[in-house]
């Protein structure tokens, strides 16, 4: 229970390490502050508990010399906080703003209560005859960026891949774009992370990450004529 970082599930995404890095840094900073402040608090409670013949000191803390004892730690807090933001900005940009070029695009539509997964097929275009729709499952190759188009049919859903440190709300009426790249083959849970009705609990899919040969095999099975 002491090492919070151990509770994060296995990371199998390229940017997951960056996200974990931010979380870990925040964790170090907050643990340090926790022990410093609560330690000081505990020390004061012990040292300054009421004792016969000793009066409290009349310290108002409003003159700068006294206030400095509190203002200096506050300045340290500001600096640390701004540093955390600076650390986080490129990671946010990497996950949510930039997107590596790739030829694999999948459209995922959240609906009550399943994931409609749409592949454009060999022609690379959605809305054509070779599109293939799956329910509650995605198949991607390892080591290749995947471009995801997030949509929603009815209410707000949220696409959450814990092992990839990726989450994105899907909003009806909006087309939102995202991406990820898997680093390890396997089968990864894909729960819905936004209350979407009585079927929200249990609304989940599976992401299958295949080694390259296995993925080619899967593609051939989906589009035998291509």
């Amino acid at each position: 229970m002491l090492n919070w970082m151990q509770w994060l599930p296995e990371n199998v995404s390229t940017f997951g390490g960056d996200v974990d890095g931010v979380i870990r840094t925040i964790w170090y900073v907050t643990v340090a502050w926790f022990f410093i402040t609560l330690g000081t608090l505990a020390a004061f409670l012990i040292l300054y508990r009421r004792r016969a013949g000793r009066r409290a000191a009349y310290v108002k803390g409003e003159r700068l010399r006294e206030a400095a004892w509190v203002l200096v730690p506050v300045v340290v807090v500001v600096i640390l906080d701004l540093w955390l933001d600076l650390l986080g900005a490129p990671v946010w940009a990497k996950v949510k703003i930039e997107r590596p070029a790739t030829d694999l695009t999948i459209q995922v539509t959240g609906k009550q209560f399943e994931w409609e997964v749409l592949y454009p097929g060999p022609d690379g275009k959605f809305g054509t005859a070779d599109d293939r729709q799956l329910l509650d499952e995605l198949h991607v190759p390892v080591g290749k960026p995947v471009h995801i188009i997030f949509k929603a049919k009815d209410v707000i859903h949220s696409f959450f891949l814990p092992n990839f440190r990726l989450k994105q709300d899907m909003v009806p009426g909006r087309t939102i774009e995202g991406w990820f790249e898997a680093t390890k083959p396997g089968k990864y849970e894909l729960p819905c992370a936004e209350l979407c009705g009585f079927g929200h609990s249990g609304m989940k899919g599976w992401l299958y990450v295949h080694p390259p040969a296995e993925y080619e095999q899967w593609v051939k099975e989906q589009w035998p004529l291509a």
């Binding site: 108002k60 440190r165 849970e189």
Partner: protein, 571 residues
């Protein structure tokens, strides 16, 4: 009502006012102290309901799809309703009536040395409006389709079309109940601000006003200025549901994200509306039980106002992954990080108040210290949420649930209990049992942490919010023991409150009578009798000579100096 403004009144007038019969004294009262007790009663009643809902929820999470004793099996529809109503009740029908309605009403006129609020009849109207809101919300449990189930945040389109939840009138009444609750607290807010501005006793300058008053009026101002957009949004939601407008319906040109902006523009200041009154109580208790001035009183006032102002520009940190333009994330991350600054100051100042003090560990002080420790924890986990990339992972998980319970629970319950134990003698004229109080504190502290600490871990493990059955997720099955631990903690914590209830009932009936100033505190309410009579003060209002935190003055005989005591007499 003119007596509220007149300084001097005759003794006959006081007596005449006091003898008014049962209905005018206990039901249709314009006396701020009685109104405070009415808010307290309603708030405590709702605490029982909100706690019960939480207990049932936690049973379902620990032992999914087993029948809850006395209730039956909880299906996912009922679970969503439990989650929704628990949140709505705790924030709007427990925290606000107790911290703002009860403490604010009781304390503000007494602490500034006046006879009642500036608008006593408006005050009565406010508590009756709140009672009506309570009735509407209560009724919503029993209408066909059940109570609201779209989360306390009520995001559309889920909340905008009855077909999506299966709940029709329940959600409409939910919106109505909150609108009435907003109206009640708008009235209260106007009253608090006006009273504090114009009815202070002679000598009571703004910088001699106790912290409770500063925190209450800042909270009132925050509420007044932030609730407007949500009222607009709620009207839009109600109209979408009933007459087919399309504010949140994308098929007809609407946008679900509009609600989120309007909700959170209010939602963030709202958490400070809940926090600040609790902070005020704690800031009042710490100096009294350290026998030391509050460290940096003026700086704390400044920090409070700055935090209040900043609270209007952080709202989208609730929406980092909502689908809004991702370029908005970093600006809101920065404002969010900045708002931790004034609160860091206040937390450090609270600790500094203890330095070189002479600390007594009476029950109010224990709860105040408990607040401090738990709030620090909650504030620190806030950083994981406020940093946008970190929030990608932790948002919508139990990590957030842990964060806001550490902050809100510590405010409402630790802060609230600190205030309750502190002012009980003044409010009711009786002393509460110290041993029972201490037992209540330690058990609550331990069980609170057993309940909520592990939720950080299961959140990091990927457990999302608002799910009725964790066992449906393979990744969570090995961690189900955490849910069981948290549930057991919940039951123990709820059971512990019986100690509190016992203490209160026993003391009200047979407790030792309270002296005027049992804690040897400085603020004006301790100069009035316990409990204060109607119109608070005798024929003349008190005169104020100094600030509220003059403890342990080196040259004074006593280690406290009441604000209404002529300092020439203290030497």
């Amino acid at each position: 009502m003119n007596q509220a403004r007149a300084g001097t009144i005759t003794a006959e007038a006081v007596e005449h006012h006091a003898a008014r019969g049962f209905w005018r004294t206990y039901v249709f009262s314009t006396d701020h102290k009685m109104i405070a007790k009415q808010y307290l009663t309603l708030g405590l009643a709702w605490t029982f309901v909100g706690g019960l809902l939480a207990a049932v929820m936690r049973w379902q999470l620990a032992w999914p799809d087993t029948a809850v004793p006395g209730w039956g099996e909880i299906g996912p529809e009922v679970y969503n309703m439990l989650v929704t109503m628990h949140g709505t009740i705790m924030v709007f029908f427990v925290a606000m009536p107790i911290l703002l309605g009860a403490f604010g009403n009781f304390l503000i006129p007494l602490m500034i040395g006046t006879r009642d609020m500036a608008f006593p009849r408006l005050n009565m109207l406010s508590v009756w409006t709140f009672a009506l809101a309570s009735l509407v919300l209560f009724v919503s449990f029993f209408v066909p389709g059940g109570a609201a189930s779209a989360g306390w945040t009520g995001y559309p389109p889920l909340s905008a079309r009855p077909a999506y939840t299966g709940v029709n009138w329940g959600l409409n009444l939910w919106i109505l109940a909150q609108a009435l609750e907003f109206a009640a607290f708008l009235m209260g807010g106007v009253n608090y601000l006006t009273t504090a501005i114009i009815l202070r006793a002679p000598g009571m300058t703004f910088l001699r006003v106790p912290m409770v008053v500063w925190q209450q009026i800042t909270a009132a101002a925050l509420f007044l200025l932030s609730v407007g957009p949500l009222i607009a949004g709620a009207v839009m939601l109600l109209l979408d549901r009933t007459i087919g407008t399309s504010f949140y319906a994308p098929e007809v040109g609407g946008d679900p994200l509009l609600w989120q902006h309007l909700f959170w523009f209010f939602g963030h200041p709202e958490v400070y509306v809940v926090l600040l009154p609790a902070l005020g109580a704690v800031l009042e208790v710490l100096p009294v039980f350290s026998r030391k001035p509050l460290f940096g009183y003026r700086w704390i006032v400044g920090a409070t106002i700055v935090a209040g102002g900043l609270s209007f520009i952080v709202w989208a940190h609730h929406m980092f992954i909502s689908g809004m333009d991702p370029r908005l994330a970093m600006p809101f991350s920065i404002t969010t990080i900045l708002i931790s600054v004034p609160f860091a100051y206040i937390v450090f100042a609270m600790i500094a108040t203890l330095w070189r003090g002479s600390i007594r560990f009476a029950t109010p002080m224990l709860f105040a210290l408990g607040f401090l420790a738990m709030f620090i924890m909650g504030g620190l986990t806030g950083i994981f949420n406020g940093s946008a990339p970190s929030d990608i992972y932790v948002s919508r998980t139990y990590f957030v649930v842990a964060h806001f319970h550490y902050t809100l629970f510590s405010a409402v319950f630790f802060g609230g209990f600190a205030g309750f134990y502190f002012w009980f003698p003044k409010m009711f004229g009786r002393i509460l049992s110290e041993p029972l109080g201490k037992l209540h504190f330690w058990l609550t502290l331990v069980f609170f942490n057993v309940t909520f600490f592990p939720l950080h871990h299961i959140g990091l493990a990927g457990m999302v919010r608002r799910i009725a059955n964790p066992l449906q997720y393979e990744a969570l099955v090995p961690y189900q023991w955490i849910n069981v631990v948290s549930t057991v903690g919940t039951f123990c914590m709820v059971a512990t409150q019986l100690v509190f209830a016992l203490n209160v009932v026993w003391s009200l009936v047979a407790g030792r009578r309270a002296p005027t100033n049992p804690w040897e505190a400085n603020t004006l309410e301790w100069a009035a009798p316990s409990p204060p009579p109607h119109l608070n003060w005798g024929p003349a209002l008190p005169t104020v000579y100094c600030g509220p935190y003059e403890y342990s003055l080196p040259e004074a005989r006593e280690d406290y100096l009441p604000q209404n005591l002529d300092p020439a007499r203290a030497r």
